[in-house]
């Protein structure tokens, strides 16, 4: 997907004066982003065809990812300077939701890839190695995975590492045990966290980019879960070696706070919204069919659906407002690292992950046995199992705990306009 070309404004009707150049071509950029969403809808059709098989066999949605590469949707966050399409976060969130409506595993893998891309896009534009790597992502449509968890008591606490970067001449080596790496076996590169040195404190972390030819993965546990079965989040022991410039110069603490927090919570919320929206779409289909069976009377399930639409709208508003808040805060390091922003993003994760479960649960009351069956076109079974992952993907109790730790000093901003 090419970046929108700069165009000149047409000359005024009067013909007076030369056309003034437009510095930012909003219309062109908007058209390019619409085209990306249209391409995502094409991919979603393919993802939907294979969603049941991906779920049944707990396998990677490779048809959807081949299509995403073909449509060049993996590199869209990369800036134009590095040959990417420089898509906005709202567009990427929309693509996440579109994919998730078809196959939530596909959507979630896509979201996790974009969250990794955001670390490079936000923090590495001026760094020669990483700028070159971003060009590769856009050109070769590389899929990025994340290795931020670890065994040895660290678990899902991404702001703590046991392993450290070991310098060895011009290279570094890194070994990490027991880390859960979603689609680790399918990724083209892994962004991995570790202590700056083996002697550094657990929270003094860096993140490094390592490409598939630079590491070995030994699988220690296979992903066999209720839902989100296609993310293939196996456990691995990671061992790799790469040149030192592949370590991102920005401390991981800064990356986590200034870009990862917002990107992760907003894009995950978009995935969960996609699941909820699909459940509501199935309810609508059910109610329309019921209404046609008895013309002249409103089916009883329509009342529940009316109630559900309000919940879905609330969910949508939560994400749209969150995306808007991030768009306004980006580039402002103080705002991004402020307690208010952290509480807002944490709250989006909590609210979104609860909403998806509530909406799909209520959808069962509407679709009834048709939703409960595994073999009906209106089945809600996979959506429900996928939705149940939301509160435990970074456990809500951990996030509420993080927020609650701030409350001895935190004061919320009561304005409606911010």
């Amino acid at each position: 997907m090419a970046a929108p070309a700069l165009r000149s404004q047409p000359a005024p009707e009067s013909g007076a004066g030369a056309p003034a150049p437009v510095l930012v071509d909003f219309a062109g950029a908007a058209a390019a982003e619409k085209a990306m969403i249209a391409a995502a809808r094409k991919v979603a059709k393919i993802a939907a065809e294979h969603a049941a098989d991906v779920d049944a066999n707990s396998r990677f949605p490779h048809e959807a990812f081949e299509a995403l590469k073909r449509e060049r949707l993996l590199g869209i966050m990369i800036p134009a300077a590095q040959g990417g399409a420089q898509a906005s976060l709202p567009t990427i969130a929309e693509i996440c939701s579109v994919l998730s409506q078809a196959c939530s595993s596909t959507g979630m893998v896509y979201a996790m890839h974009q969250i990794k891309a955001s670390s490079l896009v936000v923090h590495c534009g001026d760094d020669p190695w990483h700028a070159g790597f971003m060009e590769r992502i856009a050109r070769e449509q590389l899929l990025l995975a994340s290795a931020t968890t670890e065994g040895g008591g660290v678990g899902g606490d991404l702001r703590s590492s046991v392993c450290g970067v070991v310098r060895d001449g011009e290279d570094f080596t890194l070994e990490k045990e027991g880390c859960l790496i979603s689609y680790g076996a399918q990724a083209d590169a892994i962004l991995i966290t570790a202590r700056r040195t083996p002697e550094a404190p657990p929270s003094d972390q860096v993140m490094a980019v390592m490409t598939r030819d630079q590491y070995r993965l030994e699988r220690s546990h296979v992903w066999d879960t209720m839902g989100m079965r296609g993310t293939c989040s196996d456990n691995f022991t990671f061992a790799g070696r790469a040149p030192l410039p592949q370590v991102i110069p920005t401390p991981f603490a800064e990356i986590a706070a200034q870009s990862m927090l917002a990107h992760a919570h907003l894009l995950w919320a978009a995935i969960w919204y996609g699941i909820a929206a699909e459940a509501v779409a199935r309810c609508e289909s059910f109610v329309r069919t019921e209404a046609r069976k008895k013309p002249g009377s409103t089916p009883p399930s329509a009342l529940r659906l009316a109630e559900l639409l309000a919940k879905l709208q609330q969910f949508k508003a939560l994400i749209v407002a969150g995306l808007d808040r991030y768009e306004r805060a980006r580039g402002d390091a103080d705002e991004l690292s402020s307690m208010g922003f952290v509480v807002a993003m944490n709250s989006i994760k909590i609210a979104a992950s609860q909403s998806v479960g509530e909406i799909v649960t209520q959808a069962f009351l509407i679709c009834g046995i048709q939703g409960y069956r595994n073999d009906s076109p209106l089945s809600l079974a996979r959506l429900m199992r996928d939705a149940l992952s939301a509160p435990i993907m970074i456990n809500n109790d951990r996030i509420l705990g993080n927020t609650s730790n701030l409350l001895a000093v935190y004061k919320h901003d009561s304005s409606l306009s911010r």
Binding site: P201, D334, E335, S337, M339, L406, A408, V409, K411
Partner: protein, 81 residues
């Protein structure tokens, strides 16, 4: 003021390093200051200097170093002077 900040840091922030070895501009987060430690530190600073950090000042930069904390405190104290 820096001496008092250092005393509070030693008592509340639970850094894995000796506060005396840190320079005024050293990054406290790199020295092991956690977000929980930051809150403990904020509480102790609010108590010791009899002030409240407003919402917009509760960001990373204002607590990233001893001199950063001093600047933040001075800016609040001068606003209320």
């Amino acid at each position: 003021m820096k001496t008092k900040i250092r005393e509070i840091l030693t008592k509340t922030a639970k850094l894995p390093v000796d506060v005396a070895t840190l320079r005024d501009d050293d990054d406290l987060f790199n020295a092991g200051l956690t977000s929980f430690g930051t809150v403990e530190l904020m509480m102790a600073l609010e108590e010791a200097f009899d002030l409240e950090f407003p919402d917009k000042m509760m960001n990373r930069r204002n607590f990233a170093s001893i001199s950063g904390i001093e600047q933040a405190l001075q800016s609040i104290l001068s606003e209320h002077a």
